[in-house]
Symmetry: D2
Subunit: 204 residues, 4 copies
């Protein structure tokens, strides 16, 4: 098989990329100047060396010559240590951080649990979560926010994680979940009954 086709086949495994777009990527690279391709090639070869998981929140973080095993959020001692937010993926953490409202710490599960997952501990970081909660509990943690998707899989994951937390020896932190209601832009005429109930329950 030729180089173009190999490149197409490799791009096809990218998330959300079909055969036509994979092909466009390959031709795109063929028409770049050499420095663009060299840069991209180097970044891909090295990204896992330059990046490690934060030893607290487990998100991917660049090493940046620092000796700390913590990311910039986990090493920021000015944040609110009474609250820890558990998210599914690195991008969820980034969304919350960008909204600018939350000032506590995070933990990234690394996935969501499908309903019938037989081995949850292989899908999400249960062991690391237990350690972090024990560490944070000693440092004043009083609330854990389960910030998971508002769909069946997200709810199943939240139920499972809540069970893990309650099972921790002597755990008496409060466990909360993100509030349900009308998301910005919603018109009542098009809203589902479940969301409407939550919006009424959470009226303020």
């Amino acid at each position: 098989m030729d180089s173009i086709q190999k490149l197409v086949d490799t791009f096809r495994r990218f998330p959300g990329i079909g055969p036509r777009q994979a092909r466009r990527f390959a031709y795109f690279l063929l028409t770049r100047d050499d420095s663009y391709n060299a840069t991209l090639s180097k970044l891909i070869a090295e990204v896992k060396k330059d990046v490690r998981k934060c030893s607290d929140c487990q998100r991917f973080t660049s090493i940046n010559n620092s000796k700390s095993t913590l990311c910039d959020i986990c090493s920021d001692s000015s944040r609110d240590r009474t609250v820890l937010t558990i998210v599914g993926a690195d991008t969820d953490l980034e969304s919350i951080e960008k909204s600018g409202f939350y000032k506590g710490y995070y933990f990234v599960l690394g996935g969501n649990l499908p309903i019938l997952e037989p081995e949850p501990e292989k899908k999400i970081r249960v062991k690391e979560l237990r350690s972090l909660i024990e560490k944070k509990a000693k440092a004043g943690l009083t609330e854990i926010i389960l910030a998971l998707n508002a769909n069946t899989e997200g709810e199943h994951t939240a139920d499972y994680v809540a069970g893990v937390i309650r099972g921790l020896h002597g755990s008496n932190v409060k466990i909360t979940r993100l509030g349900r209601g009308l998301s910005t832009g919603t018109e009542l005429e098009y809203v589902d009954g479940d969301t409407l109930k939550n919006a009424l329950r959470h009226r303020e």
Copy 2:
């Protein structure tokens, strides 16, 4: 102009209907049997005679041989008289009623207020709202829920209506709004920052 074209032009004024669909409606009627067209014609001719506005909530309601000027909800004395929900349109009332969670009474504004509306009282039913609140206040009303769209126009309408209510002599009912947060099905990766803030604020 011929009859088909006149019918097409009349259907074009229906909400959301373009020229192509208006034409399909006309040809659809040309191929119906006479009884379908006769029934539809009669229903259209008589719908406003058979229907009036409920003298309390102002929604459209069939008369049904009853002498009451109230709709079936407003005449149901078993509902919760401490709470009144204000909506923009009849269909919003139906959405809330169908969700099955709410047991109080309603009021239909008959529209939303555009931001720069110079004559709000011509756009929404302010006078009828004042009368109803005064009547309900004597009957034990303690809370008014503004159930308006979660967009700029809906918020503007809610602000205006809240002002009207506070201006009522001796009004001390609590005014609330529908809760904001994640609507059912939302994934964190795609949510806007505003909704995320509300979901964190309303965590439970």
Copy 3:
């Protein structure tokens, strides 16, 4: 059942209209002035009386006080009598007429034939087609254009109609079909192989 609901249920049978839009139509009529509803009601009641099928092409046409049983196209003797175009629906005839290129006569089948239709003569106007072709053949007809949809059903209909025409006693008119190729706006990157073959075959 009340009048609003009856109206909603009747609108739901309109082509392409779901429950939500049917409801919006009903509320739309409730807020019209009486004259709009009266006009629409009258148009619907009378449309089938004011309209008949043209005795030649079978399309719906307004009567307009004329004694002729022909529509304005079929009664226009200045058109090209050597060519007859067969379409599925009245709207197809209108599309071709609006494109301004064609100057011959038409025939409307009144539908398309599903692949396994057991009784084709009940689905499309076979008898009327035979009569018209015999009449036009005497008047100089030399070509019949089958202007049917470029999909499976349209092709099946074209095959069936071509068989009917060839079966006519002494018929020696030429039968043609609409040309296949790139439709306006097509980009080669997104085109299907079948269309590409036709575009190559019809290169000019």
Copy 4:
């Protein structure tokens, strides 16, 4: 700036890729095993070395240890040497080749001409086109097919290229364009007037 962000920024320049998808690509690579990333990195670094432009049709082609400067199509002497098809992009050539109908040779312009392009020879391969036509003309070429997009830019490009070809000394090859008409799946009700005219003109 950290490695993840650099990778995100580089992926953002890929065709059709926004910030969110660029980020998903970066996290995708962080979770691959080392061999996937190493393979992709190597393919990107080397793709331009393993690939050159065919000296006849100018499309990208893998070198494959062969000493020939021609791609597999241009070096296939069993193809029809009377016809040459000019396309805008490599992917257009692939689409035509996959449709299986065409057996002649190709030339890839490397782009399309915007309407007001001041320097056409910098946008498309005019010089290489002239050489190839002169070479093919001596070998029996009788027809050039301009297989360009059926939109304004494609038509402008076709006009320009036709002018170039006619300007060649002693050129008397026939110049054709892809046929216009109904593309597969088209329903007459939704077709534009221009396509309808072409479909009538190309009836067969």
